[in-house]
């Protein structure tokens, strides 16, 4: 009996693997990695795994196609697309922040209040106290970081559920910002530096950096892929096919330069868009290429295993909340600049749009799963719905109902994936 089992599951060393035992790493890869052991997966399983973004992408394409047809071609015009990316940048940045805590399986409901509070701190310093714009922005970012640290402290050290901590924060900071505004309903921003971020005719990258920066980003990405390919080849490790490597570079270049071309056929690349994508790229690098990022995924996946592996789980949680609230501050500053003013009322859709964008993009609410790039698909879907319905002269009521349905579908899909993985996982 045992012979049969051995053959099925742990084969006796074959000639090849005996030779491999004395060979280099190339032979080791061959001896350890048996691709035939990979269970054959159905299309459904692939869609729940690495191809999980495809349904989201298809949804986006359907939404875009629909609005393109019913608006008679206005939706995809360069002018409207520039307008659209201007509308999504600020809550996209908030959504990027919420990804950091979602990856831990936590939530931050204080995002919107923190964003508005920090923008008010900036506006009050610059407009009332005459502090230089850069210093006002720095203080606002620091305030965001401190708030995030406090949130993280309560969640990680005192073990209070993040839902409650940040709900309390959301209420408390909304009160604090009213206090800071001192009864004033809106505070107009006149500082040209702050307005230039997203709220003036000059809020576009100059021509040369507008083309060179995206091109440089694509080049760096391509170089990174090629270097990693060559290093893996030299080390005798398995590599993806050369064709796939080239395809990835071509797709990235086409997407980025295509977008730049669209922007330039209107007014150029907006600062806020450049900032949004720059932050995504930065956080993608942090999450995937550094030990810190890996530890975030580890804590989100299995906090106990991470603790036993010697990871400081408390520090990781505090850091994630701090980054989240700092990004909220960035989003708040962009929002204030775009509106040329800060208001005492916190827009209730701001928080929900940010969280919805992250979840629709494929970041799991249960932790450990999702990429920084997920936010792009999420904000594009939500932004397209808002923008398209506005073009059709539909009011907020319709747009919010549609958004609600899309969000529910996304969260349901996430829950189903998680259940399916738990079933097949062991």
């Amino acid at each position: 009996m045992s012979d049969i089992i051995e053959k099925n599951d742990s084969p006796e060393p074959t000639e090849a693997s005996k030779v491999a035992a004395f060979g280099g790493p190339a032979a080791e890869a061959a001896a350890v990695e048996v691709p035939a052991y990979m269970p054959r997966r159905t299309i459904g399983q692939l869609l729940r795994g690495e191809l999980g973004f495809v349904p989201v992408l298809v949804t986006l394409l359907i939404i875009v196609a629909y609005f393109q047809i019913v608006t008679g071609g206005i939706f995809l015009s360069p002018e409207n697309l520039s307008n659209l990316v201007g509308q999504i940048a600020y809550f996209g940045i908030l959504g990027l922040g919420v990804i950091m805590v979602l990856l831990l399986g936590e939530i931050d409901l204080s995002l919107a209040s923190v964003a508005v509070l920090c923008s008010i701190i900036m506006a009050a310093l610059s407009e009332r106290a005459g502090v230089p714009a850069w210093l006002a922005i720095l203080v606002a970012l620091l305030a965001g970081a401190v708030i995030g640290f406090i949130n993280g402290f309560f969640v990680a050290v005192l073990r209070v559920p993040s839902f409650i901590v940040t709900l309390a924060g959301s209420i408390g900071y909304a009160g604090l910002l009213l206090h800071l505004l001192n009864g004033q309903a809106t505070l107009i921003i006149n500082n040209p530096f702050i307005l230039a971020i997203a709220g003036s005719a000059q809020s576009f990258l100059p021509n040369v950096p507008g083309v060179v920066l995206p091109a440089l980003a694509v080049l760096l990405y391509a170089a990174g892929l090629v270097v990693s390919y060559v290093r893996r080849r030299r080390a005798g490790l398995r590599t993806s096919s050369l064709l796939w490597l080239v395809a990835r570079i071509v797709i990235a270049a086409a997407l980025v330069m295509g977008a730049v071309a669209v922007f330039y056929s209107y007014q150029g690349v907006p600062y806020s868009t450049a900032l949004f994508f720059g932050l995504i790229a930065l956080f993608w690098l942090i999450l995937t290429k550094t030990p810190f990022g890996r530890h975030i995924y580890a804590v989100g996946g299995n906090a106990e295993a991470a603790r036993r592996a010697g990871i400081n789980v408390v520090a990781i949680r505090i850091a994630a909340f701090t980054l989240c609230s700092t990004l909220a501050a960035v989003g708040g500053i962009v929002l204030a600049s775009r509106g040329n003013a800060v208001a005492s009322a916190v827009d209730s859709t701001l928080l929900l749009n940010a969280i919805a964008a992250a979840v629709i993009g494929g970041v799991s609410l249960f932790g450990g799963r999702g990429s920084a790039w997920a936010i792009v698909l999420g904000v594009l879907i939500i932004g397209s719905i808002i923008n398209g319905l506005a073009l059709l002269n539909q009011t907020v009521d319709v747009s919010e109902m549609v958004e609600g349905v899309v969000l529910l579908v996304a969260v349901t899909a996430d829950a189903l994936v998680r259940r399916a993985q738990a079933r097949t996982g062991r």
């Binding site: 045992s2 089992i5 051995e6 099925n8 599951d9 742990s10 084969p11 060393p13 491999a20 035992a21 004395f22 790493p25 080791e28 890869a29 001896a31 350890v32 990695e33 048996v34 691709p35 035939a36 052991y37 990979m38 269970p39 990693s228 290093r231 893996r232 080390a235 005798g236 490790l237 398995r238 290429k289 550094t290 030990p291 810190f292 890996r294 530890h295 995924y297 580890a298 989100g300 996946g301 299995n302 106990e304 295993a305 991470a306 036993r308 592996a309 010697g310 990871i311 450990g368 799963r369 993985q421 097949t424 996982g425 062991r426």
Partner: protein
């Protein structure tokens, strides 16, 4: 660096050590006692495991197996008693101390992050970095492959997410992780529980490879069939005392069951010369 972690592949398949092996034990416990309130969980227990040896630690529920493992792994230090690693008296007040001493415990479910791939799990908490603190994936993958091959582990790909692996493969990855941490003593807590027949076979093979690599291995198991297949010596605990040590070659499962349950213990002692009792006489 990888060469320090695992012995060269060619040196394997040394003959089994003599039973019991001579020389200084890799890990030795003397007079370990531990109480939880009025309950005496361990009472003057001695324990030893030698390099290149697999010791099975068996006993009924409540016999003190888990308590003893917690003492060794630093999770629950003993009230009294001494611990020696390679002849040196040591203290193990916490899990970090155990890791520093080269004592690694492989728990069944708590060891791995399902959402990370095999390499990420192997190096979790001690990632290798190159310039700008970026992860050195190529080097980690090379070292990971080296260790996995030393254990003759077969997986679809070291870039598979752990959630997609079978129970046996997961156990193998967890063990490989402890070897990458330069383990000298590996404690396996119920390594074959909840595994299928084929996967159990895989894990037993893995345990033999650990022995061949010169590690001291302790297997806690309820499954006597598995124990008989892979261990060299069996240490039986009953009600917090070590009631017997059996050389697996000269023992039958019935004798061990008798020792575990305490049935006709005295009669067995009289007839079984191989059992060298250490504390039953008290």
């Amino acid at each position: 660096m990888a060469e320090n972690v695992t012995p060269a592949v060619g040196e394997m398949s040394s003959p089994l050590p003599e039973q019991p092996p001579g020389g200084e034990p890799r890990l030795r416990l003397r007079g370990i006692s531990k109480s939880f309130g009025a309950v005496r969980a361990l009472s003057k227990v001695d324990f030893e495991v030698y390099a290149g040896e697999v010791v099975g630690l068996v006993g009924d529920n409540g016999a003190g197996k888990s308590t003893l493992i917690k003492v060794i792994s630093g999770v629950g230090p003993a009230d009294e008693g001494e611990i020696f690693v390679e002849g040196q008296k040591v203290n193990i007040p916490n899990p970090q101390a155990a890791t520093r001493l080269g004592i690694e415990t492989v728990y069944q479910d708590l060891a791995l992050c399902d959402n990370l791939d095999v390499v990420a799990n192997l190096f979790l908490g001690r990632e290798e970095v190159s310039f700008l603190q970026s992860l050195d994936e190529v080097d980690m993958e090379k070292r990971g492959l080296h260790v996995l091959q030393g254990l003759e582990v077969k997986i679809p790909s070291v870039r598979s997410v752990v959630a997609t692996l079978s129970g046996g493969q997961r156990q193998s990855v967890a063990v490989a992780k402890s070897i990458l941490r330069q383990a000298k003593v590996v404690l396996l807590d119920e390594p074959t529980a909840a595994l299928g027949v084929a996967q159990t076979r895989q894990v037993l093979h893995l345990i033999r490879r650990l022995r061949e690599q010169g590690l001291a291995v302790v297997v806690i198991s309820h499954n006597l069939a598995d124990v008989f297949e892979v261990v060299d010596r069996v240490i039986v605990l009953r009600l917090g005392r070590r009631v017997g040590t059996f050389d697996i070659k000269t023992t039958t499962p019935e004798q061990i069951v008798a020792a575990i349950t305490g049935a006709e213990f005295g009669a067995l002692m009289a007839t079984n010369g191989a059992a060298n009792d250490t504390s039953g006489g008290r």
